[in-house]
Amino acid sequence: MKNKVQNILLVGVGGQGILLASEILSEVLMLGGYDVKKAEVHGMAQRGGSVVSHVRYGEKVYSPIIPEGQADILFGFELLESYRYLPLLKTDGQVVASDLQIVPPGVALGKESYPEDVPAKIKAAFPRSRIVNAMALAQQAGNMRTVNTVLLGALSNMMDIPEEAWNQAMNNRVPAKFLEENLNAFALGRQA
């Protein structure tokens, strides 16, 4: 398993905390003993635009961006963005995504429409996919802002990383006063 490079593509909307989630993810993978690379774009993309972060791990990783059509897991923070980036997923890949919908400007103006039945369409194309009501679980964990940690919990089920490494990474990256609710959120996501 270790010599094969695994690819996780994180997608969502600027401002959703995707970059922090990919920080935690790459920290976990480094602690797990892998070579890790991650790539993303800052600047203009932050302003409510479509945001993508590539995370790759294995014994030796070259390109920081995932070769086209080679993503093993598409990790989505918003439904339309998860749908948009499906072409980058392997044919036998998996989607772990939030069911949250954020309408883009064209839809807000009534000029375009948000695609319908996205979860069903994703599951039809990639049967092993999971669409999570992360917002509800975050509320259950005690803070709406732990929604990304819930999603990381759901993602962790699909990866061969010991739970201690996840806890260690959150210890390293999450401020102490938010740690407990984030650990709760992670556990809820992992059970979901």
């Binding site: 790539a39 920081p64 807000a108």
Partner: protein
């Protein structure tokens, strides 16, 4: 510390720290910005600061070097255009303390106005340039660049790209160097005063230096041959090396760490053993053309695009003429999600009114360039940092008096202090009639909210003198200077309209802090709501293009506007647009 995971920019900062840098200066620019932020945050022993523009930052760094200290300057690719003047003569003077200029290019224009390839600057200015291919090399090459700078008496450029600066990979930090000489005053006018008589002699030195470095680099480990199998060879550098290894795992690879000057002897030896030779490089055929000029046959831009960034798929598609593989593709057309001004952005109302006033808007570089996007659609030009004001002067010169009134320049506070002020001086000096709006949001917004001389705080967050924008404009001769809160829509419109009519230069400063501001300058208010009984479906509020206002076609009989309570910050601009009083303030918190 054995290993850690760092972005290229974090690693550049680490490398500078390990090299014993004493002074670091920059103007923020994506994708280079975080280098100085990391230095300020993690390495307080370094004197780090924001300069008003890249030219000043390089000049500050040059001064530190002349004083005998190691100094670092960082910028984005277009920043080198601004700093080119000192750079080209710095090449002649050389250095005392090591001087390194890190320049971050942006292939694919993720956040830039052009795609220029900075390697040409290294060749043009006759200075060496290193190009790392991951974060560990970003650290190591920065350190090495300082040594080479002093060894060869030259400024050294280090080229990054978005995929180096903003990618993370594993880094092995080393202990910082020790025993560097103390800075001191040492007069050496023959070397540092570039009058013709001195500079003529230095030009010979520069040419000899380049020849020496080309020879030296043939035997250095940063230029290395990785033995493969078969007869295919690849010459590559930077992040393109990673794509080459991904796509041609069997090939022989000549990986260049120094992209200028090229190790010609090493290239000849490498080429001799390969039957097919590729140069895989992003943007221009910089290495390729020089290899070709050596009489060596290579493939490069005949197969790979000059435009945009590379990727493993694009390299494979070029080399093997294969389609870029795609998995499942949705059949329907998906709505785009372009970047947008944030809810509560103080620029929104200004552009809304400029649109209604049918102004011809010369624009500039910053978040407010998004005023170009529909539905605001209120920007007609955008060239480079500071250009809006000169552009307004020029276009006014050729228009009829009636059309001339429509010309309005818009520029951010940070951009105005970068290079806009010079344009304003010209405007007054040469009798232009245009109107200038300084969109003062008290920060450098687009690059991630950095301080500048107009904010009253330094890079390290210490209080500093705050430039008085009104006073500055008056001092260059602008008689009509006004400031206004852009949240007041009618007042903003009336003022802009009045000043557009005035046949003299006037400056309007629209002042309200960025909604993402780091300090407590902003007061978010509870989200608004739409009263369904009052909304008449006129859609006037949608013309603001606020992400917090959504059209719900299913509501009411003709559809209705709704507020997204999660992101509305209660700026009440929409409330002023609605003629029917449908927007209200929520009681709930």
């Amino acid at each position: 510390m054995d290993k850690t995971i760092l972005s290229g920019n974090e690693a550049f900062a680490r490398g500078a720290f390990e090299a014993g840098v004493k002074v670091a200066s920059a103007y923020p620019g994506t994708p280079s910005t975080e280098i100085l932020e990391n230095i300020a945050h993690h390495y307080p022993s370094i004197d780090s600061s924001w300069a008003p523009n890249e030219k000043v930052s390089l000049e500050v760094t040059i001064g530190a070097s002349f004083g005998g200290a190691r100094a670092l300057c960082t910028m984005k690719h277009v920043g080198v255009n601004v700093a080119a003047d000192p750079l080209f003569t710095l090449s002649y003077t050389g250095v005392r303390g090591g001087l390194v200029l890190i320049v971050a290019d942006d292939p694919e224009l993720h956040s830039s106005q052009n795609e220029q390839d900075s390697r040409h600057y290294a060749r043009f200015a006759k200075v060496p340039m290193f190009e790392p291919s991951d974060s560990e090399e970003a650290r190591a090459f920065t350190r090495l660049a300082f040594e080479a700078s002093e060894q060869f008496d030259t400024p050294v450029m280090v080229r990054s790209t978005t995929r180096i600066s903003h990618s993370k990979s594993i880094v092995y930090p080393q202990t910082p160097v020790e025993g560097l000489p103390e800075p001191s005053l040492a007069r050496d006018p023959a070397k540092l005063v570039m009058l013709p008589g001195n500079a003529r002699k230095r030009h010979y030195f520069v040419e000899e230096r380049l020849a020496k470095m080309a020879e030296w680099s043939c035997s250095q480990s940063f230029n290395r041959i990785e033995e493969g199998q078969g007869e295919v060879g690849v010459i590559t550098a930077g992040v393109a090396y990673q794509y080459a290894k991904e796509v041609l795992p069997e090939a022989h690879v000549l990986k260049l760490g120094l992209v200028h000057p090229l190790p010609k002897q090493l290239i000849r030896e490498f080429a001799a053993r390969c039957k097919t030779l590729y140069v895989i490089e992003e943007l221009d055929p910089f290495i390729e053309e020089q290899v070709r000029a050596m009489g060596i046959e290579v493939h490069g831009k005949d197969l790979l695009s000059v435009c945009g960034e590379l990727s493993p798929g694009r390299v494979a598609a070029g080399l093997f003429k294969e389609e870029i593989p795609q998995g499942f593709t949705p059949t329907e057309t998906l709505p785009q999600r372009p970047p947008n001004m944030c809810p509560g952005c103080p620029h929104r109302g200004v552009f809304y009114q400029l649109n209604r006033l049918k102004a011809y808007v010369t624009g500039d570089i910053g978040c407010y360039t998004l005023g170009f996007m529909p539905p605001l659609s209120a920007m007609d030009t955008c060239v480079c940092m500071g250009a809006s004001i000169g552009n307004a002067t020029g276009i006014s010169k050729v228009l009829t008096p009636e059309d001339r009134k429509k010309v309005v320049a818009v520029i951010g506070d940070s951009t105005f202090l970068h290079t806009g002020i010079n344009g304003l001086i010209d405007m007054v000096y040469n009798g232009s009639t245009a109107t200038v709006i300084i969109l003062d949001n008290s920060t450098t917004g687009m690059t991630g909210r950095q301080d500048h001389p107009g904010t009253g705080y330094s890079l390290k967050g210490d209080p500093s003198y705050q430039v008085d924008l009104e006073g500055l404009c008056r001092s260059v001769g602008v008689k009509h200077v006004y400031s206004i809160d852009p949240y007041g829509l009618d007042e903003t419109r009336d003022l802009i309209k009045r000043e557009m009519e005035r046949p003299e230069v006037s400056v309007i400063i629209t002042r309200r802090a960025c909604m993402l501001h780091k300090r407590d300058l902003i007061q978010r208010k509870p989200p608004l709501f739409v009263d369904a009984d009052k909304c008449t479906a006129c859609k006037a509020c949608l013309k603001l293009g606020c992400p917090a206002i959504k059209w719900n076609p299913a509501a009411g009989t003709k559809g209705q506007a709704e507020i997204d309570k999660l992101i509305c910050v209660g700026c009440e601009v929409c409330m002023q647009v609605c003629k029917f009083g449908a927007f209200g303030v929520c009681d709930e918190k």
